[in-house]
Symmetry: C2
Subunit: 198 residues, 2 copies
Amino acid sequence: MTDKASKHQQRQQKLKEKVDSKVAQAQIERGVLLVLTGNGKGKTTAGFGNVLRAVGHGQSAAVVQFIKGMWDCGERNVLQNLGVQFEVMATGFTWETQNKEKDIAAAEKAWAQAEIWLQDPSIQLVLLDELTYMLSYHYLDVDRVLEVLAKRPEHQHVIITGRQAHRRLVEMADTVSDVQPTKHAFEAGIKAQKGFDY
Amino acid sequence: MTDKASKHQQRQQKLKEKVDSKVAQAQIERGVLLVLTGNGKGKTTAGFGNVLRAVGHGQSAAVVQFIKGMWDCGERNVLQNLGVQFEVMATGFTWETQNKEKDIAAAEKAWAQAEIWLQDPSIQLVLLDELTYMLSYHYLDVDRVLEVLAKRPEHQHVIITGRQAHRRLVEMADTVSDVQPTKHAFEAGIKAQKGFDY
């Protein structure tokens, strides 16, 4: 082995030991609350990608979409066929409805279904897509949401997506990823494209 | 309508106008190069979530996994059944192989397949999962990678994931999301769990 190759091997061995030791220390097994927030692209796709991962391992998952786009949802088409249960809030983006009472009623209805799934230990993963807006617009009560999350089955994972996650949601979460937009094609005049952006 | 409801409607109307005007300005339609980087959880799941979205709209996609885990891959199980093509680099995490020559040969082989897909206009989305490490470890040449990306079919989207994306990759990309780990369950002693973390 050359000297350079040997140094590479030593470096990689050290890295392996560091990783192995961290892995050995992490032994708790329980449901994780993951919050995907920030203004960058990738929060909802990461949520659905995690649902896909669960389903790929034969686990059961349920999805509540708190802001329904105008469009057909590519992810929903596939995942429903794979047995994932869906609840879609019956309203468009909130700045298109301009009717607060109607929005609140729709949010309450979607949350009622979320509560049922958040008490069902047979569901291993619940994705609450775009839930953060329901809290920042005060459509749902944060105390109620946090209480239901805290009382959920021990091994149930929950993923919450959306910009500006509530401070108390971040505090309660086990893992929080802040997706920052270093840049976005939209700002360069590229339109949202079907199959990629929605 | 109450005064408060009317104010809410006015605010939402302004927001709608702002969004509509931005949407009207973004009219270019072409393949987007998306880089998902940073140390937080959600990069690979966002990549696979985007593949799921494309497939859900009847589009074709291909995936190259540049770092293969030890484990069974939940996403791959499902997506292969849905017609997504896969190329998996024939080695484990690089800090577990400790053999640079073998790693480089494996990277070259995976990249050769990537090059074929990056010249095929019938493939609408190519996911190059964990490609960034191949550049930071100098397993692949950055000039060659950027040239192939630049020459790809006009309407083909490409997603590249992994930590510490190369500066020139970030420069070339249309959209870059930097996924920051505000916190991670692993640090609190929670182990990586099948169906959620892998």
